[in-house]
Amino acid sequence: MGCFNIYIFNRQGTCIYYHEWFRPKSVKQGAGTLQDDQKQMFGLFWTLSNFCATMDPKDQDKPQLGTPRKIGQGCKFRSFTANNYKCNFLEVPSGIKVGCQKCTWTCLLVLNTHREAPDLTDVLQALYDDIFVEYVVKNPLYVPGQSFQSEQFVNALNAFLRQNGLLQQQQIMQASA
């Protein structure tokens, strides 16, 4: 089991960080360009969050579908699972959104023991707390609203995912190359 790719968006929809470890189907076959792909991912998360908040069975006053929503109003959307990948999300009150796609498809033997990827909310929260805040927000060269490149961030990200067992062996080799 391993991570496919990770997106970090800010409130304006700009993808401020994107990294992929393993993407067999190229972007051209999917969205066309990387920018379109990122826009689609953002839009997907946006629509699903709104939809979730509207469908919430526990909420007393639910927003109507399509009405603008404040951050944090309504329930939080966490992930969706397809037959061969799982997409996990985390949205922070300051508007930063982290999305991570992860493989659930493995050989049959492992599937018997690990049915599917566990809930990655805690992992994403730790990623935000310990890695994004430490290496990006505190970096004086980071301009909020623009994409960033930071070697320290990438190293910390790879180390963290490796620790959580989310990088497969060949991905570790690729990551350190």
């Binding site: 953002f42 944090g72 009150p93 730790a126 707390d129 505190k138």
Partner: protein
């Protein structure tokens, strides 16, 4: 200013601390330098506020990561969180929230102790200087990142002879999340 260090256990991140006197003196020398660069006191006030704003927009992420607060359901809750959790975490002072207006859109943060202004005396010719304006900027920047547009201004200042520091916060708008891309793109 307390700055976060590398987190140990997930639930108790350690915060780096800086010597309070070093902090106060550094801030004092920044203000001094701004005054000699700009010479116009109003301009210095604006610059301090802008610096505070730039700090606030980054500080809020760190606060959210370290404080693990639950969602604030209203401006009242937000003001309480700022006074009782954010200020102690970053400045090691606690503030009270008071003087709410009937609409619940304006309040005052009252500080009796302000590490920015320790050992400071304000001479007569700098009567117009808002020495702690950086704090007003920080609050404005931080709240703007969580979609609350506020205005912050100082109404009492101990450096000018009042008995406490009072920062008046006025909520202009609690914005909704807007989809940033046009639908036909």
């Amino acid at each position: 200013m307390l700055r976060g260090g590398p987190a140990g256990a997930r639930n108790a991140p350690s915060l780096e601390q800086i010597n309070a006197e070093v902090f106060t003196l550094t801030y004092g020398s920044i203000v001094r330098q701004l005054i000699s660069d700009f010479e116009d006191i109003e301009e210095v006030n604006k610059q301090l506020e802008q610096m505070g704003y730039n700090m606030g927009i980054r500080l809020v992420d760190e606060f959210l990561a370290k404080a693990k607060i639950t969602r604030c359901s209203s401006f009242r809750d937000t003001a309480d969180v700022v006074a009782k959790q954010a200020l102690p975490m970053f400045l090691n002072v606690s503030a009270n929230v008071a003087n709410w207006n009937p609409d619940q859109t304006e309040c005052s943060l009252i500080l009796t102790d302000n590490p920015l202004a320790d050992f400071v005396e304000l001479p007569e010719e700098y009567r117009e200087l808002k020495y702690c304006n950086v704090l007003a900027g920080v609050v404005r920047g931080a709240l703007e990142m969580v979609n609350m547009e506020v205005e912050c201004r100082w109404v009492s200042d101990m450096l000018k002879g009042d008995d406490c520091y009072e920062l008046r916060i006025k909520l202009n708008e609690h914005r909704d999340e807007k989809f940033p891309f046009k639908d036909d793109d």
